[in-house]
Symmetry: C2
Subunit: 401 residues, 2 copies
């Protein structure tokens, strides 16, 4: 039986033209983040199942690709639950592995530690256009810094990358989990309610204030709901809501120092899904893309799950796949590609002469050109057209005699 040609359902082969853009963006990101003092690290794709299922991953925990136990550890005859047959899985994000990494290597790393991770993550999401089950994430995190300098650096670094990629007129929405909680508390909600209330508030973008009100009223008394939502009225002074939070300082410094063309805006309705956030949270919004192109926040309590001691941590994840998609849609071309030369060699060229041709190619390569070598085909016209499409405009022919 023939083998399967298509990739596994929901996963993707990357063709050379897209790959060139991905590599260019990756390089630009690494170079820019290095200027901000971030060090590249790598964690394994495979993680302990217990870590993955530790409630740090929210909804993503339902989407884990689990890996079968091996050898004696696997006894299918006695297996009744997935827990019996699996002890590891593919990571669904880079934040959990980073926290494990930092807990494991803290003593070998500078404090604070500024980490850059670019790597694949896997989620068994329902496959849909433009969303794949393996995709690249690109995270910067500052670990061990309780000050809001960390938030400022993350926002400046991320927006500098976006600016270099020629993105304009975007918005950094910013909020603080502490503000979210204070507003809920002020309306009389109990801490146990917060999760549900915030999930509903998060829909403000889609269903509007009235929609949020209706959904809240399904579970909570009118008085609480009204008090709560009154705080989101545009007449409320944002300075009052932000009192006690570092947001005004973060916003003010970012606004003054930023080099890219964007605005940073306090948005009391910003929730961000993950329950592990403990302080400021932020998200990139772009008009040309109806949704978030990245986000992050402070998660001071995750590393403590590994070490027993809370450690300040804040991260910003740029939406790598969305950025690539937007660039491809824009017809982005990688700048400064090498000069390309093709050598077509007639069949049965004696090895003496062949060596001369390869030596000539080597000279061109030493001069920084890309040299394509292949046998001259019978249909030379088609071969040349195909090479021209690949950017080989300088095509040289070498004959056996």
């Amino acid at each position: 039986m023939a083998l399967k040609k298509k990739p596994v359902n929901g996963m993707k082969d990357i063709l050379p033209s897209e790959m060139a853009v991905r590599m260019y963006v990756t390089e630009l990101i690494r170079k820019t983040y290095a200027e901000f003092g971030f060090s590249s690290i790598e964690t394994p794709a495979v993680e302990h199942i217990g870590n993955l299922l530790s409630k740090q991953g929210g909804e993503n925990e339902k989407l884990i690709f689990k890996i079968l136990k091996r050898g004696e550890k696997l006894d299918l005859s006695k297996a009744t639950t997935e827990e019996n047959v699996t002890d590891s899985g593919l990571r669904y994000d880079l934040t959990l592995p980073l926290s494990r990494y930092y807990a494991n290597h803290m003593n070998e790393l500078p404090a604070p530690f500024k980490a850059l991770q670019i790597g694949s993550v896997w989620r068994a999401d329902r496959p849909q256009r433009g969303r794949f089950r393996q995709f690249t994430q690109c995270d910067i995190d500052i670990l061990g810094d309780p000050s809001y300098l960390a938030e400022i650096e993350l926002i400046l670094a991320t927006t500098t990358v976006l600016g270099k990629l020629d993105f304009h007129n975007f918005t950094i929405r910013i909020n603080d989990r502490k503000i979210l909680k204070a507003m809920a508390s002020k309306a009389g909600f109990e801490p146990a309610d917060y999760g549900k209330v915030f999930i509903i508030l998060d829909k403000m973008d889609k269903i509007g204030l009235e929609g949020v009100r209706e959904e809240l009223l399904e579970s909570y008394p009118e008085e609480k709901v009204t008090t709560y939502l009154a705080q989101f009225d545009e007449n409320v002074d944002p300075a009052v809501l932000m009192e006690g939070s570092p947001l005004p300082e973060i916003i003010s410094v970012v606004d003054k120092v930023k080099t890219a063309d964007f605005r940073v805006m306090f948005d009391p309705t910003l929730v961000r899904g993950m329950s592990y956030y403990t302080g400021p949270i932020f998200e990139i919004a772009m008009d040309e893309f109806g949704g978030s192109v990245g986000g992050g926040g402070r998660y001071d309590e995750m590393i403590g799950k590994f070490t027993g001691h809370d450690t300040p941590a804040v991260g910003f994840s740029i939406g790598f796949e969305r950025i690539i998609m937007l660039l491809l849609e824009r017809g982005f071309e990688v700048p400064d590609a090498k000069e390309k030369v093709a050598f077509l060699i007639e069949k049965k060229m004696p090895s003496e002469r062949l060596a001369d041709v390869f030596a000539e190619a080597q000279k061109e390569r030493d001069a920084g050109k890309a040299v394509w070598i292949s046998i001259m085909k019978k249909n030379k016209k088609f071969q040349k057209e195909q090479l021209a499409q690949e950017g080989y405009t300088d095509i040289r022919e070498f004959f056996a005699e």
Copy 2:
């Protein structure tokens, strides 16, 4: 219960110092191979289990990390075999996914297609020093070229990379599966014996000619064994063995054109493990490393397993992890690192003044320097020492007033 700090058994966290070397080598490889006309591509880490178990992977098929089926597809109550509970797994090499990729996208790719893949593979090998269950492979392959120009290009490209990394005095051992088979056939072995005979021959390095003879005699008559091994005598003219093979031309051209410091040597005892090879095979041997630092060969029949039509294919895999190990042992330092400046900022600096400091950092970053920003710690001396260790020799202090 605390979460697990160590990586999954046999896998590895990569610290910033090693990561810097890995990124430098990756960049150098990509740049060099681009000069040889190779295009980067990417295949998913997850592959169909049927493809992985199709006998293209030799011993590696026993080492697959299998992924649990999901949702309705998984019925543990009826599961008796691994086949019942898994339909995909992590790739154990890059050659099988490349063959699938080429079969799938042939019409969108130039002919011949020159592919570069750098990516992780996974093998559930017994963990041992320096060998991990997730590691990076780095393959170049030329697909659709039946001529030995492809072999020449692969050897020149690979050795150019090694030369640029300052490896000297290494050897490319080269043989041809057709020569291996002809020699076995001449001694009277049947095609059905070849596999076993070659596995024994492959031990020549370790157990010597006498050891090989003894092992062969355990299964085969003395006459055959004696005739067979007589062909490996040093008095036999290699030209006779290589008759009809392209090896003499490949060796002659590579020898004349090579830029790195190595020799290319016909070795009739070279076997290479994988049964899918059909023509020339090669391997890099380095005295400083007792074993292969890469290898490859022609596998003209693998793509046909996907398409029904054989397609010429030849690849060369550089031993990425071994090269990194050798560089680290050598104390290799990444050249041309950026100039590094650290800004230490006193706590509670007003946001006005903070903006000035960040603006100054931005200027340095625009000038191509890496700027580290963090809060000034109480133990400033220790903080400065730690930064100096990280290469931040220019440390500037900024006070709140």
